[in-house]
C-alpha cells in the first residue's frame, strides 16, 4: 500500500477545491477515487483494473449515490453543512469510509479523515486500503497435501508400521531379542501370517 505504484490515472489536477458552495446553505462535495494498478499481488480478472464504471460512491449510508467519471472524479450536490460519511463500493477493493466535514464558516476547506485508521486527508482523494481476494487460492498439487489428507495419513501410518517397526526391532540387543522371541514362542503369539485367513496353512 505504501509502495509507490504506477497510478491508473496519471493526470493529477492540482488541488481542485473540494467544496464549492451552492445556493442556500447547500454545498457540493467533490472528490476522486484512485485505484492504483497492481496493488497487491494476485490480481485476478474479477476486479478489472481501469473499469471504474461499477464503482459507486455513497453518502451517509446510501442517502445519495453517485458514480465516477472516467477520470475518477465524483461529486455530491446540495449537501447541507454537517459531518458526513462517504463510502466507496468497489468489488475487489476495500475502501475505508471517510468522514467529511462540510462547514458553513469555512467553505472550500477540506476536512476529511479515514474512519478506519483515523488518518486525515488533505484532499478528498480516496484510495483503497487493500485489495480483496474473495476466493481461496487453490494450492498447486503437492506431495505434502496428499500426505496430509486422511488417506495419505492412513498409508503413511501403515508404511511406518511395516518398515520402521522391523528396523526398531533390529536395533534391539541380540540377547534381548532372543529372549523376546523365546517368550513369544512360548506364549504362542500368532505372527502376522497366522492372523490372515491363509495363515493357518503352515
Amino acid at each position: 500500500m505504501a509502495a509507490v505504484t504506477p497510478l491508473l490515472l496519471l493526470l493529477l489536477l492540482s488541488s481542485a477545491p473540494s467544496f464549492s458552495s451552492g445556493s442556500r446553505n447547500a454545498y457540493n462535495i467533490n472528490g476522486r477515487v484512485k485505484i492504483p494498478q497492481g496493488l497487491g499481488l494476485g490480481t485476478k480478472g474479477y476486479a478489472l483494473p481501469g473499469r471504474m464504471s461499477n464503482v459507486k460512491v455513497l453518502l451517509n449510508g446510501g442517502q445519495n449515490i453517485t458514480f465516477l467519471r472516467p477520470d475518477g472524479y465524483f461529486s455530491f450536490h446540495n449537501i447541507p453543512a454537517g459531518t458526513h460519511l462517504i463510502e466507496v463500493s468497489a468489488i475487489g477493493y476495500f475502501f475505508s469510509p471517510v468522514r467529511v466535514d462540510v462547514s458553513a464558516r469555512t467553505p472550500g476547506k477540506v476536512q476529511a479523515a479515514l474512519t478506519e485508521n483515523r488518518k486525515g486527508l488533505s484532499e478528498l482523494v480516496l484510495e483503497p486500503l487493500r485489495e480483496e481476494q474473495y476466493y481461496e487460492i487453490r494450492e498447486p498439487f503437492s506431495i505434502m497435501s496428499l500426505l496430509k489428507s486422511p488417506m495419505g495419513l492412513m498409508v503413511g501410518f501403515m508404511l511406518a508400521v511395516a518398515f520402521l517397526m522391523p528396523k526398531l526391532v533390529e536395533n534391539m540387543d541380540l540377547e534381548e531379542m532372543r529372549r523376546a522371541q523365546e517368550e513369544m514362542r512360548s506364549q504362542g503369539v500368532p505372527s502376522l501370517s497366522s492372523l490372515l485367513p491363509g495363515g493357518a496353512m503352515n
Binding site: G22, E87, I91, R99, E116, M154, N202
Partner: protein, 1003 residues
C-alpha cells in the same frame, strides 16, 4: 493428559479462525446461483446505431438504467441509482450517450452507451418544484455543440451534450405557472413552453433556443379550468380537458396566437360516459381519452375539428410515435382478447390502414399489457419491419417480432415483498437397477476425472469437462425432496401481485401465478400484497395433501381497508380459494397450532382490535378454545411511541354472531416519552427457530443458562432529532436506547443507552442474544453491539441434586409479578460498512454455531462468526477461555474477504436476507433478494456431517486398494521370512545333528 491435549488440538484444528465460508473460484455456481433483474420498465429508448449489437436502453421503477441486448434480452450494463434518485426521463444523445434526468429533474447524467461508464453529471437547480422534461433535439446546435433541453424545477436549461455544461437558463418564476409541455418544433430555433397558471389561464412562452431569450408570451383564460394532463397533437396544438372532464379543449398557438375550440365529449359519442381522462400520447393528430369502461381514439382534423376513429372496451395500450420517414409516423397498438394479444402498427395519418397486424399467444399469468415501445428495422427486401417491447402487468418485459415472443425477462422478481419456502414432493417410484449401474459407471468416470484434476494430470479439456459436470449435476435441480433437504421451493410474492416458485437448486421458475385476488376490481381499488405465510405444511397424517401458502393482501395503502386472503397450492401453483374479508388486516399472527389437516391456525387482528380466527372450521375453533388463555401478542404504534400487549377476552359482542371473531383486551403498554425517544426498530426471534440447549458451559466448568423466551422483543429508540440522516445532528443531541421487553408481561428486562449514537438500526434476535448495528456519531463510525441475556434463577442448579430439589423444578409456581432473575452481558465493536440487512443462520436442530449475515452497503453479504460478537471477549483471554474458543477482544470486527457469501458478486439493491435450515444439521440455505437474487448454501461450522463436494472417492478407492495390496505383499513377505527362519532353524538343527552324528561316528 496427552489425550486431552490431542483432543484440544483437534478442537483447535476444527475451530481455527480461518474463514469458515470460503470458496475456490472454480466452485462458483456449484451451490449458489445469481440472477440479475432490472424491475418494471418505465421508459425504453432504442439505440439507432447501425453497426454493432442492437441495444435498448431502459429506465425502471427500481431506479435502474440498463442497456439490454435486443437479440436476447441480456444485460450489457446496468446502474442502480439511489432510492430517492427516481428517473424522470432517459434518451440517447449523439447516438453514443445515454442521458438520464433524475431526482425530480435535479440531476442530469450522461453515460457512455457501449460500456455504461458515466461521462458527466450536472446538478440542475431551480426556483420551485415542477414537472420535468428531457428533450434531445437532433439538429439543435450551439457552437458545434449538440444541445439538450431540460425543463426542471421551474427552469429551462440548455445543456451541452458533450460535457454537461449549462449553456443558458431561463426561469419561469410566475408563482402559479405549471408547465405542461415543452415543445421543440423540428427545423426551427424555437422552444415552446406551455402550461397552466392560476387554474384557468393557459400560458404559452416562445423562447429562442440559441440563447434562451423570451420571444413571446401569450396567455388566454378559460373559465372552465383544466383537469389532468394535456396531449400534444401537433407541434402547435394541444388538447386538454376542462375541470369537469366532459369538454375537450383544443388549443392551438400557431404563430404565437392562441386560439381554441371547445367540444363536449357528448357531441362525439352518443351515450354519456362520465368524466374522462386524457391518455398522453405523442402520436401527431391523434389522442385518446379513457373513461371507466371505454377508450376512445380521436383524430384532430385541421384546426380543432375532432372525429372519433375508434371506440373500444378492450384493455388497450398505445406506444409513442416512431418516425419512419420524413413525414410518416407509426405507432403500435395492443389489444387484449382472452388468451391472445393483438398487435397492430398503424400510420399516424391513416387510422384504417394497418402496417402490421399480428396475434401473439400470451400467458394469462402475465396479465395485461401496461406499456408498449415500438422500434423498426429494415428487412432484407427493404420494407419496414417492426418489433415491439411490451411491459406486462406482472412487470415482465417481452420482445415481440414477427408474431412471436423473441425473449422475455421476469423482471417482477426485482421487487420481492415476501419470501417463504415449501418442501418438494417426496420421490415415490424406486430407481431402477439398470439406471444405477449406468450411473455407477458414470459416477466412477466422473471421479476418475476429478482425481486427475486433483493430481494435476488433467488436460484443459478434462478440466472443462469436470467443471461442466459439476455445474450441471442434475441431482441438485430434481423436482423431488432430497435426503439432505437442500432442494426446496422458494415461494416469493412480488409487488406486481404475482407468486413465483423458484427451485433452490438452480433458481429456475417452477411455476408462477398472478393472483386473481390482487386484480383491480369494483370492491378492491388498488390491491397490494402484504405477506406470505405457510398455511399448510403436511407431514404427519395429511401426507397426501399438497402444502399451501397463505397470501395476505389488502385493498388499499392504508391499514384500515379490507383484506383479501388467498390460498395457493405450492406444488401446482393453483389458487385453491380466496376470501374477501369484511374486515381490515392490521396484524397477522401465525399460531403454533395446526388442525387435523395440518392447516396452521392464524389470528388476524383488524383495525377495531377484533381478532379473527382462520381457518374457519370447527376443528380449529376447538383447538383454539383450548389454548384461548395462552395467546398473547403485542402491537407497536410507531407514531405515538407506544407498545401494547394484548390478550383475548371473549367472543365478539357485535350485532352479527360470528363464532370466529373475538374481542381483545389490552394487558400492558410501554409508552416512550415522545420528546426524547422515537421507536425506529423492533425485532423478535424467528418463530420457527430451534434452540439446541439452554445450558452454556463456560471455561471454568461453570454453567450458564440462556434466558430463552419466545416473547422477547428488542426495541430501539432514538432522540427525535437524531432520526434523520447521518450528519444532521451533533453527538450531544442524539442518543439511542435499546430495550428488551417481555411481550407477555410488558416488563422491561434490560435497557441500555448509547449516547451520541443514531440510527438507522438493523437488528437480529436469536436464542438469547440480540445484535444491532447503528451509527456512533462521536467516533463517526458504525458500531455493532451484542446483548446476551442469561437466566440467573437457575444459576444455582449446578449439580443433579439441586436440579431435582432446587427451586426451579416445575412444581414451583411462576408468577407474572415475580421479577425474572436475569443478567445481561453486552459489548460493542466498530464495524466498517453501512448495512442494508442483517440475518442469522438457522439450522435444523440448532447445534451448529451461528453466523451473522450482514448485507453491506456495497450489496454484498458478509458472513461473520457469532464468536466475534461474544460479550465474554477480553483483551487477554486466559488459557481456559482460549481453549473454549474466545477470541481476543479487538476494537473493530474483522472483514475477511473470503467470508463474503456472495463472493465477487453483488446482489444489486439488496433488501432482505432469508435463511432456511436444511435437513442436514450443518447446512443452512441463504436467499438474498433485492433487484438481484442470490442463493447459496452455508455451513457455519463446515460440513462436519457430510463429505464435501470435492471429496475424492477415487482417491479413497485407490487408498483402499493400495492398502489391501500392501497387506498381501507384507503377508507374502512375512510368510517367506518365516519360512526362511524355519529353514535356517532346521538347517541349524540339521547341521547340529550331522555334527553330532559325526561326533558319534567319531566315537
Amino acid at each position: 493428559m496427552a489425550i486431552r491435549s490431542f483432543f484440544l488440538f483437534i478442537l483447535f484444528f476444527s475451530s481455527s479462525l480461518s474463514p469458515v465460508f470460503s470458496l475456490y473460484e472454480d466452485q462458483v455456481g456449484l451451490m449458489d446461483w445469481h440472477q440479475q433483474y432490472i424491475g418494471k420498465v418505465k421508459q425504453a429508448v432504442f439505440s439507432s446505431q447501425r453497426a454493432g449489437r442492437k441495444r435498448v436502453v431502459v429506465s425502471t421503477e427500481e431506479n435502474v438504467i440498463a442497456s439490454l441486448d435486443l437479440r436476447h434480452g441480456e444485460i450489457f450494463w446496468r446502474h442502480l441509482l439511489g432510492a430517492d434518485d427516481v428517473i424522470d426521463g432517459i434518451d440517447i444523445g449523439l447516438g453514443k450517450y445515454v442521458i438520464t434526468l433524475s431526482s425530480g429533474g435535479s440531476i442530469l447524467r450522461s453515460w457512455n452507451l457501449p460500456d455504461g461508464q458515466m461521462v458527466w453529471e450536472s446538478s440542475l437547480q431551480g426556483p420551485k418544484h415542477s414537472k420535468s422534461f428531457l428533450l434531445v433535439p437532433t439538429n439543435l446546435k450551439f457552437d458545434k455543440d449538440n444541445v439538450l433541453v431540460v425543463f426542471s424545477n421551474g427552469r429551462l436549461h440548455a445543456i451541452s451534450c458533450i460535457d454537461g455544461e449549462v449553456l443558458w437558463k431561463k426561469d419561469f418564476e410566475a408563482e402559479s405557472f405549471e408547465v405542461q409541455q415543452v415543445i421543440l418544433p423540428p427545423g426551427s430555433d424555437l422552444i415552446h413552453v406551455v402550461g397552466f397558471a392560476a387554474l384557468s389561464q393557459f400560458e404559452m412562452y416562445q423562447i429562442n433556443a440559441k440563447n434562451g431569450e423570451l420571444l413571446k408570451h401569450e396567455s388566454a383564460s378559460f373559465s372552465s379550468g383544466f383537469s389532468g394532463q394535456v396531449s400534444l397533437v401537433s407541434t402547435e396544438t394541444v388538447v386538454a380537458l376542462d375541470s369537469t372532464g366532459s369538454i375537450l379543449l383544443t388549443i392551438s398557438f400557431q404563430d404565437g396566437k392562441i386560439s381554441s375550440q371547445q367540444t363536449p365529449i357528448s357531441n362525439l359519442v352518443e351515450d354519456s360516459l362520465g368524466p374522462a381522462v386524457i391518455i398522453p400520447s405523442s402520436v401527431s393528430g391523434i389522442f385518446a381519452i379513457k373513461t371507466d369502461a371505454v377508450t376512445i381514439f380521436i383524430r384532430v382534423i385541421g384546426k380543432g375539428n375532432l372525429e372519433v376513429v375508434e371506440k373500444t372496451t378492450h384493455e388497450i395500450a398505445v406506444s409513442d410515435a416512431l418516425s419512419i420517414s420524413e413525414d410518416q409516423q407509426a405507432f403500435a397498438l395492443i389489444q387484449h382478447a382472452s388468451s391472445e394479444i393483438h398487435l397492430t402498427v398503424k400510420l399516424a395519418h391513416d387510422w384504417d390502414g394497418n402496417l402490421l397486424k399480428e396475434s401473439v399467444k400470451m400467458d394469462r399469468q402475465r396479465g395485461l399489457v401496461h406499456k408498449v415501445f415500438i422500434n423498426n428495422y429494415i428487412r432484407t427486401d427493404r420494407s419496414y419491419g417492426f418489433r415491439v417491447l411490451i411491459v406486462m402487468e406482472d412487470h415482465s418485459l417481452l420482445l415481440l417480432q414477427q408474431g412471436e415472443i423473441v425473449w422475455s425477462r421476469e423482471d417482477g422478481l426485482a421487487s420481492i415483498i415476501d419470501v417463504t419456502t415449501s418442501e418438494l414432493p417426496v420421490e415415490r417410484d424406486g430407481v431402477s437397477v439398470a439406471k444405477v449401474e449406468h450411473n455407477l459407471f458414470e459416477w466412477l468416470k466422473g471421479h476418475m476425472l476429478k482425481l486427475k484434476g486433483t493430481l494435476m494430470l488433467a488436460s484443459p479439456e478434462d478440466m472443462a469437462a469436470i467443471q461442466s459436470m459439476r455445474l450441471k449435476s442434475s441431482e441438485k435441480s430434481k423436482m423431488t425432496r432430497d435426503h439432505n433437504g437442500f432442494r426446496k421451493l422458494l415461494i416469493v410474492l412480488t409487488r406486481a401481485g404475482k407468486l413465483f416458485a423458484l427451485h433452490t437448486g438452480d433458481g429456475r421458475i417452477v411455476w408462477s401465478y398472478l393472483l386473481r385476488s390482487l386484480h383491480k376490481s369494483e370492491a378492491c381499488q388498488s390491491p397490494i400484497g402484504l405477506n406470505l405465510y405457510q398455511w399448510q405444511v403436511p407431514h404427519h397424517h395429511a401426507m397426501d395433501e399438497n402444502p399451501s401458502v397463505l397470501v395476505v393482501s389488502r385493498c388499499g395503502p392504508s391499514s384500515d381497508t379490507s383484506g383479501v386472503l388467498s390460498f395457493v397450492d405450492t406444488y401446482t401453483g393453483k389458487e385453491l380459494s380466496s376470501l374477501s374479508l369484511d374486515h381490515a388486516v392490521v396484524q397477522v399472527i401465525p399460531l403454533p397450532y395446526t388442525d387435523s389437516t395440518e392447516q396452521r391456525l392464524h389470528l388476524l387482528i383488524d383495525a377495531d382490535k377484533h381478532a379473527h380466527l382462520y381457518p374457519k372450521t370447527s376443528g380449529a375453533l376447538s383447538i383454539f378454545k383450548r389454548e384461548f388463555s395462552n395467546i398473547y401478542w403485542y402491537s407497536v404504534e410507531d407514531q405515538n411511541g407506544i407498545i401494547k400487549g394484548h390478550a383475548l377476552k371473549c367472543k365478539c359482542t357485535g350485532e352479527v354472531a360470528d363464532e370466529f371473531c373475538f374481542d381483545t383486551r389490552d394487558l400492558w403498554s410501554v409508552v416512550f416519552p415522545s420528546e426524547s425517544e422515537k421507536t425506529i426498530a423492533t425485532v423478535t426471534r424467528k418463530l420457527n427457530e430451534v434452540v439446541h440447549t439452554q445450558a452454556k458451559v463456560v471455561a471454568d466448568q461453570d454453567v450458564m443458562y440462556k434466558y430463552i423466551s419466545r416473547n422477547l422483543l428488542f426495541v430501539a429508540t432514538v432522540a427525535p432529532k437524531g432520526s434523520g440522516e447521518i450528519g444532521s445532528v451533533t453527538p450531544e443531541e442524539s442518543w439511542l436506547v435499546a430495550y428488551l421487553i417481555d411481550t407477555v408481561t410488558g416488563r422491561i428486562l434490560h435497557r441500555v443507552t448509547h449516547h451520541g449514537s443514531q440510527g438507522p438500526v438493523h437488528a437480529v434476535f436469536s436464542e438469547n442474544w440480540v445484535v444491532y448495528h447503528y451509527f456512533n456519531l462521536r467516533a463517526h463510525r458504525y458500531e455493532m453491539s451484542v446483548i446476551e441475556i442469561y437466566d440467573q434463577s437457575r444459576a444455582d442448579n449446578k449439580d443433579v441434586w439441586k436440579l431435582v430439589l432446587g427451586k426451579h423444578n416445575l412444581t414451583s409456581p411462576i408468577s407474572l409479578f415475580s421479577r425474572p432473575e436475569v443478567i445481561t452481558k453486552s459489548q460493542s465493536y466498530f464495524f466498517t460498512h453501512s448495512l442494508k440487512a442483517i440475518a442469522v443462520t438457522s439450522t435444523a436442530k440448532g447445534i451448529t454455531s451461528k453466523q451473522l449475515l450482514l448485507g453491506t452497503i456495497g450489496d454484498q453479504v458478509l458472513a461473520l462468526d457469532k464468536r466475534f460478537l461474544d460479550p465474554r471477549r477480553t483483551v487477554n483471554p486466559t488459557q481456559l477461555e482460549k481453549e473454549e474458543g474466545i477470541i481476543p477482544l479487538t476494537e473493530s470486527l474483522p472483514i475477511i474477504p473470503q467470508s463474503y457469501v456472495t463472493h465477487a458478486l453483488r446482489v444489486e439493491g439488496l433488501r432482505g436476507i432469508i435463511t432456511v435450515p436444511a435437513k442436514l444439521e450443518s447446512t443452512t440455505l441463504v436467499f438474498a433478494h433485492g433487484v438481484d437474487l442470490f442463493f447459496t448454501q452455508l455451513a457455519p461450522s463446515r460440513t462436519y456431517d457430510s463429505l464435501t463436494e470435492d471429496f475424492s472417492y477415487a482417491l479413497l478407492l485407490i487408498t483402499i486398494v493400495a492398502l489391501v495390496a500392501a497387506i498381501f505383499v507384507t503377508w507374502r513377505l512375512s510368510e517367506r521370512k518365516e519360512l526362511q527362519e524355519k529353514w535356517s532353524f532346521y538347517s541349524a538343527f540339521a547341521s547340529q545333528s550331522t555334527f553330532s552324528s559325526l561326533h558319534f561316528s567319531d566315537n
